[in-house]
């Protein structure tokens, strides 16, 4: 048709006042029709209101006037501030998100088997590199060694039994360290584990600045988790020490992981996950700046781990809102480089939404989560296995989670278009709603003096959200298939993974052999240096010898438990004086 060749005449003046008047009239008419249907279902249209999981009110349908007040530069284009639509001009067109399944169980060589296996199944990172997302066991997280009485029955469960430099050899020997990215998933033992990895790299002759990977620095978890080894201020200090070290010596290393996923698992809703992740990042960023670091130098190495849960569109809006809010926050801190304002996301599909009942249903849930994360534009992904609520993944369930990602990447064609939901009236409107609600919550944290001083507030908020969720299920106001709806007595049998007790015994034998075989005087000297460095650090006389002293101690065969004992002694909780 000839007239359509003249774009000026055919383009709708979507946001001009007269047109918006017309769409408002359209909505009034639609509302009448909708209300009639509602009445037929016995619903009072005057009080009918739906909400997102975060409690944000949503409409049954959206119109152009719902987005007319959003400044267009707030939405912008992929690769432009405030990065609502994505970090870079290209999204998945030339390289999809990285497959980053969490791995770790048993002895280091058992974890290595799984690493090699999944790699052979096509697990792919960026630019041909492999990402190994490795979780340490809770014995390591606690900072004790496997022969500690508290470790019994826990060694290599829910994480790998890696406690010293020699375990790093068992885990990584034969792999090209510069061609891979290692995420060290630790609890409070971040620095001792980092020291083992650095010592191991040195032993292999690999310069530290060529290492790629992540440290968690999750000390701020003390706000919402039961376990907390260090008081909030000591946690901030330890995190900043590592960030400062990497800033100088390992500029490619990802120093801090902002763990929204952990908040979500503890009960946080989307708005809380955004607000508290930004609040934690802001608090740590200010602490870095107080040490003289420039935002453009350290902020590019901050990353996020974000949950993707059941409220499909709110979870997508959450990711877009987070990108926008973090970019603005970093700009206000003085960041100017795009990478210093980027939210690089490792998606972890929600674990708490999964059920032990009818476990294969979890494959459907995680597929929706993964699709949502992909539509939101994530950088890397771990998809929870369908046996998540039963055990750590079997080889089969682990592979299935990888295949799930690969099917979305290879078969759906969604990777061709960046931010495919951008511009949708609902999605843009909800993105702005999530951001506005998160800003309000962030302001409350700021009024309390920032994240490290707002633990009680954060905990209370997250806990009340967790409670509301379960109360709704118990009152049948929220349904979970297999829990309070479509319950069946049939038990879906799935194979469960079990870590053998023999691995625990071997781990204990190894650590005792290590203590017997190592050069005693050298170890003692190295530990004395660690003690001095940590004592000075704790006294506020930081001479930045803490990490180098720990690396030297790792060379002298010190264990994670031994190094953590020093940190706990000087920086842990003490009875009030």
């Amino acid at each position: 048709m000839a007239d359509q060749q003249e774009p000026r005449e055919t383009v709708h003046p979507m946001f001009e006042p007269e047109f918006l008047e017309a769409t408002r009239r359209l909505e009034e008419q639609w509302r009448k029709d909708f209300d009639k249907i509602a009445e037929r279902f016995g619903v009072d249209p005057a009080t009918y209101q739906a909400y997102t999981r975060s409690g944000l009110p949503i409409k049954p349908v959206y119109f152009p006037h719902d987005v007319a007040a959003i400044p267009y530069h707030e939405i912008g284009s992929p690769g432009l501030f405030p990065y609502t639509r994505g970090l870079l001009a290209a999204q998945y067109q030339f390289m999809p998100w990285a497959n980053q399944p969490v791995m770790g169980y048993g002895l280091p060589e058992e974890t290595r088997e799984r690493m090699d296996f999944l790699r052979a199944q096509g697990m792919t990172g960026y630019f041909g590199k492999t990402f190994y997302n490795l979780v340490y066991d809770l014995v390591s997280h606690e900072g004790v060694d496997p022969d500690h009485p508290a470790a019994r029955g826990r060694v290599g469960q829910c994480g790998m039994a890696v406690y010293c430099r020699r375990d790093m050899e068992r885990l990584f020997d034969g792999l090209e360290l510069t061609q891979m990215n290692v995420v060290h998933i630790t609890g409070y033992e971040t620095i001792p584990v980092f020291a083992h990895y650095l010592a191991y790299a040195q032993q292999r002759g690999v310069p530290w600045q060529k290492l790629l990977g992540n440290t968690m620095n999750w000390y701020y978890q003390s706000a919402y988790c039961g376990m907390t080894t260090f008081p909030p201020q000591a946690g901030v200090d330890l995190a900043v020490e590592l960030i400062q070290f990497c800033n100088e010596q390992m500029p490619q290393w990802n120093t801090l992981n902002l763990f929204g996923y952990g908040m979500e698992e503890a009960g946080a809703v989307a708005v809380e996950e955004v607000a508290f992740s930004v609040a934690a990042g802001l608090d740590y960023a200010r602490a870095c700046m107080a040490q003289g670091l420039a935002p453009d130098d350290f902020l590019p190495r901050f990353g996020f781990q974000i949950a993707q849960a059941n409220d499909f569109f709110e979870e997508i809006a959450k990711v877009r809102a987070l990108r926008r809010l973090w970019a603005k926050t970093c700009q206000a801190l003085g960041a100017t480089k795009p990478s210093a304002m980027h939210v690089r996301i490792h998606t972890h599909t929600s674990g708490v939404e999964l059920t032990a009942q009818q476990p294969l249903n979890n494959l459907v849930r995680t597929t929706l989560h993964a699709l949502g994360a992909a539509l939101a534009g994530t950088q890397a992904m771990e998809v929870s296995a369908y046996d998540e609520a039963l055990s750590i993944p079997t080889e089969a369930s682990h592979t299935q989670s990888l295949r799930l990602q690969q099917i979305i990447q290879e078969e759906t064609n969604i990777t061709q278009v960046a931010d495919p939901l951008g511009g949708a009236y609902y999605v843009e409107s909800l993105t702005s709603q999530v951001e506005a609600a998160a800003v309000k919550l962030l302001e409350e944290v700021e009024r309390l003096g920032g994240y490290r001083h707002a633990h009680e507030f954060i905990r209370a908020r997250i806990e009340s959200s967790a409670q509301a969720w379960r109360d709704q299920i118990d009152r049948n106001q929220r349904f979970v298939v297999g829990i309070n709806k479509y319950v069946t007595d049939d038990v879906q049998k799935v194979e469960k993974f079990k870590v053998s007790l023999a691995s625990e015994h071997e781990s204990v034998r190894r650590i005792q052999a290590l203590r017997a075989e190592r050069d005693g005087p050298r170890w003692e000297l190295a530990m004395a240096m660690v003690d001095k460095a940590v004592a000075r650090f704790a006294r506020g006389e930081n001479d930045h010898t803490l990490i180098p002293a720990m690396v030297a101690a790792s060379h002298a065969d010190a264990t994670t438990g031994e190094l953590m004992a020093v940190l706990k002694r000087h920086l842990g909780w003490h009875a009030p004086v």
């Binding site: 826990r154 055990s391 079990k498």
Partner: protein, 133 residues
């Protein structure tokens, strides 16, 4: 006669961060009129000490990451040695089916897996504890 207020010690190792369920349970047991003591412990002996000091009727261990069999072995045998095997022992969280029998054999009365209802736990405690008093 004044009604006995049931005293419950809920506990979880400091190693584990999965405390969403047990903290929810703590709130609900309190709402149901029980006294709840909450403990993050490192070694099982701390559970036993606290249970005796606080003179509790019930000990509930939460575990989502294994290790519960070892902890409960120690807790049940130490309570027995100290003459307090009258304490009702419960465990909840991710508890594999194959652990249930061994747990019962060592004196664990209730096992509550993923998705369990708080009301069932409240009822279980009330019935068992009143039978013991």
């Amino acid at each position: 006669m004044a009604e006995h207020k049931i005293r419950v010690l809920l506990c979880k190792t400091t190693m584990e961060s999965h405390d969403r369920g047990v903290r929810f349970l703590a709130t609900k047991l309190r709402d149901a009129g029980m006294e709840v003591i909450y403990l993050n412990f490192l070694e099982p002996s701390e559970v036993v000490e606290t249970a005796i000091e606080e003179d509790v009727d019930v000990v509930g261990l939460s575990s989502s990451v294994q290790g519960h069999v070892a902890v409960l072995e120690d807790v049940t045998s130490q309570l027995q040695t100290r003459g307090r095997d009258d304490v009702l022992i419960l465990v909840g969280g991710v508890i594999p089916e194959e652990d249930v029998e061994p747990l019962r054999a060592m004196g664990v009365s209730g096992v509550f897996g993923p998705g369990s209802y708080v009301n069932d736990i409240v009822q279980f405690i009330r019935e068992k504890v009143s039978a013991r008093i």
